[in-house]
Symmetry: C2
Subunit: 120 residues, 2 copies
């Protein structure tokens, strides 16, 4: 088997792919790759995230050392999220995925239409 044993569910690599493959991680990391953002800015930037889910995602990424969470004792409260060095290294392959997506959306949408018409 090539590429390590990423296909074994008990392999740590799989654990990481599971994390990357959650619905919001890619968007969050990509948003933070540009610059540090606070909670509400992230919420606005990544359209459609429920606050609960955003919190979950951020906690998980913090736990993995992908980003750092900084709380400022102010009123109204201010919490900033920044990518760590590890997070910045992850941002690169993620940007590659996004480039691919942007470059191939039209093909995919065409394919979908064709497929749906063939079925229906």
């Amino acid at each position: 088997m090539v590429r390590g044993n990423a296909f074994d569910p008990d392999c740590p690599t799989r654990v990481l792919l599971d994390r990357i493959g959650d619905k919001w991680t890619v968007l969050v990391v990509s948003a933070l790759a540009e610059k540090t953002l606070r909670f509400s800015e992230l919420r606005a930037q990544v359209g459609g995230v429920a606050p609960k889910v955003l919190t979950q995602t951020l906690r998980a990424l913090e736990r993995d050392g992908i980003l750092r969470r900084r709380v400022y004792a102010e009123v109204p409260p201010r919490v900033e999220y920044t990518l760590t060095r590890l997070g910045r290294s992850l941002a690169e392959p993620i940007a590659a995925i996004q480039d691919w997506a942007e470059g191939h959306v039209s093909s995919v949408l065409t394919n979908r239409e064709r497929y749906d018409n063939a079925v229906a």
Copy 2:
């Protein structure tokens, strides 16, 4: 906003990220990047997929034109899945993600332990 409008939920790019961000797409594309596989081979290769979910994933990828499904009228039945050219182009950034994962698992696991100890 940089990188197009991938953060807008209605943007087509987002649609693709949603697809890539499902639990099995990355593994399936990565497995097929090596070579054409039949259903049962995929099931064995990608440990832990339920057949139902594998079928769903494969149908979705076929619809998007990422892979081609070929049925041979034999008994026992034979169905082969092959990446299309589009699929092969997607395999590249996916491989980059996998490389990142393999290179950074240990950091992440260390971070997790530290985080869990700090909380508990």
